[in-house]
């Protein structure tokens, strides 16, 4: 069994009798393995955030089942165990910090879990070091930059010692530098600490960093696979008005024009070397 597993999950808001049930999620079955880095991709209203909130029992499926580390999210008594295992980081860094001092905010999660004081201290210091915010531990959050605030929010989840971190568009409100900071932090946590990462995003260049990409459209899974597998389906993605990374797009257009290039280019340097080779051949 995977770490997070959904079985035929359906979800709809409001079950008013006058309205026909409006499904936000329809029949979603997927699996996320321990230690994996999965990107959940889709444009606004595709249901990707709704699905993410099922992964830590913030929302419960209207139909089907969600299991987190073999625990059924419908079981009310397991709610806090599930949330401890799978932490959720939200989009707006300003709205998820609780305390007026960085280290006290990071301590909020373990304090809720009833961890002994001495251990909280250790966890807070470790979490802040892991996201590179240890020097800022006694600052006020409102004096930090957006990227720094978001890293503090990640540290707040880390201090609960979760196996999995779900990030709901964590970079959407950040400047380019903040985005890089947050993405580097996420990748480091995934590689060095083996934490399972589910990154919800609508940026293609963030999705290519993942081990696996799941593309959602209209509450269903459109396509899933490695970034190379997914982004080689340029036509399918374009039909659903989704973009592909710029390098992929360029090579795809050249292929349309009759050039013989490989169809799985994702990164700029790959694209450059392919073009160089082609130009040398002339």
């Amino acid at each position: 069994m995977g770490f997070i597993e959904t079985q035929n999950v359906t979800f709809s808001y409001g079950t008013g009798e006058s309205e026909a049930p409006n499904n936000v999620l329809t029949d979603i079955t997927m699996k996320i393995e321990k230690g994996e880095f999965v990107a959940l991709l889709g444009h606004n209203g595709s249901g990707k955030s709704t699905l993410a909130k099922h992964f830590n029992a913030m929302l419960l499926p209207s139909g089907g089942k969600v299991y987190v580390d073999s625990m059924d999210t419908l079981d009310e008594s397991l709610k806090y165990q599930i949330r401890r295992k799978a932490g959720l980081v939200l989009q707006n860094p300003d709205n998820q910090l609780v305390a007026s001092i960085v280290e006290e905010d990071v301590a909020f999660g373990p304090e809720n879990l009833g961890v002994p004081s001495e251990e909280i201290r250790v966890r807070v210091d470790e979490a802040l070091k892991a996201v590179g915010m240890y020097e800022h531990r006694s600052h006020a959050p409102h004096k930090l930059s957006g990227g720094q605030k978001q890293r503090v929010a990640i540290a707040g989840i880390l201090a609960m010692e979760p196996d999995c971190i779900i990030l709901d568009e964590p970079t959407a409100m950040l400047d380019p530098q903040g985005r890089t900071e947050v993405l580097d932090t996420i990748r480091k946590l995934n590689r060095e600490k083996g934490i399972t990462v589910v990154l919800i995003t609508h940026y293609m260049d963030e999705a290519v960093l993942a081990d696996r990409v799941v593309v959602m459209d209209d509450g269903k899974i459109l396509i899933e696979g490695t970034p190379k597998e997914v982004f080689s389906q340029v036509e399918l993605l374009k039909n659903h008005s989704l973009d592909v990374p710029q390098a992929t797009e360029l090579i795809w257009r050249l292929r349309q024009a009759g050039f013989d290039f490989p169809g799985d280019i994702l990164f700029e340097d790959e694209c450059v070397s392919v073009l160089e080779k082609a130009l040398e051949g002339r």
Binding site: D94, Q96, L97, S100, E104, P110, E111, S117
Partner: protein
């Protein structure tokens, strides 16, 4: 300009008063305030004044800030001392129609003014040397026994913490909304008082809407971090009384005892 507003009057520092346990500071401040009223003559009052002055010096905060905090209540001091000035008994020193000023009145006025001034200064010592977070924390811990009479102590402290956290965020937001409305031609600076209040409506409405949105987000973030009220909650920061706390407690109690002794053995100076 709106960003200059700071909540509370905390002056960061490393003085001994900054370092003592906030619970001790809070309780001792209350004790001193009570004893400002217990002090019954000029000698015991003199002792209290000396104690308050010592606290002000130990706090390492500049006198200018203390005087600034006096400004707000200057009127009350003048008013009460004038009132007392004319209500003294005994032989009049000066007679102004039906008003008479007596020696007793002058002493009384001086006495009352000293009491009010000390009251303000000692509370300022507390707020200057204790951060709002520490103050909230101390309040929560001290009020804990009230839980048994169904006072939601944890919830009150949580609300105060969140309020303190969001004050700068909302101030920044107000600034942004004001600029946005000005850019659309809102006139905030002219007209009479009512016109100006009306002009605030287009600022307050977006501010409220966004505050509710933030509250919704924050509630979700708190639930994600397993918040479920005060039950079974632990705290990272533990407060322990250390030697300098005991020293300050001892000194304060000695002063208070002194006040009582002076009251008993040297009565009736006022």
């Amino acid at each position: 300009m709106i960003r200059d507003i700071t909540l509370g009057q905390f002056v960061p520092g490393k003085s001994i008063l900054h370092r003592i346990d906030p619970r001790v500071k809070l309780l001792l401040t209350f004790l001193v305030i009570v004893f400002l009223f217990v002090a019954g003559n000029f000698i015991s009052m003199g002792l209290m004044v000396a104690f308050v002055l010592l606290a002000m010096i130990l706090s390492g905060v500049s006198l200018r800030l203390y005087l600034k905090s006096m400004k707000a209540i200057l009127f009350i001091v003048i008013f009460t001392s004038l009132l007392n000035l004319f209500y003294g008994s005994g032989e009049p020193l000066v007679q102004l129609g039906f008003l008479k000023i007596t020696l007793d009145g002058i002493l009384r006025a001086a006495y009352i003014s000293l009491r009010i001034i000390c009251l303000v200064f000692i509370s300022s010592v507390l707020t200057f040397t204790t951060s709002p977070t520490d103050l909230t924390d101390a309040l929560e811990r001290l009020m804990k026994p009230l839980r048994y009479i169904k006072v939601p102590v944890h919830e009150i402290a949580m609300m105060m913490t969140i309020a303190l956290r969001f004050v700068p965020t909302l101030l920044e937001e107000t600034d942004k909304i004001m600029s946005a409305q000005k850019a659309r031609g809102a006139d905030l600076e002219s007209g009479g008082i009512f016109q100006r209040i009306r002009a605030l409506v287009p600022i307050l409405i977006p501010l409220f809407v966004s505050a509710f949105r933030r509250a919704y987000d924050l509630a979700m973030a708190m639930e994600c971090r397993c918040y479920h009220g005060g039950d079974g909650r632990t705290k990272m920061k533990q407060l322990h009384l250390r030697s300098h706390d005991y020293t300050i407690i001892a000194v304060t109690i000695c002063v208070c005892a002194g006040v009582i002794l002076i009251n008993i053995f040297l009565p009736g100076m006022v």
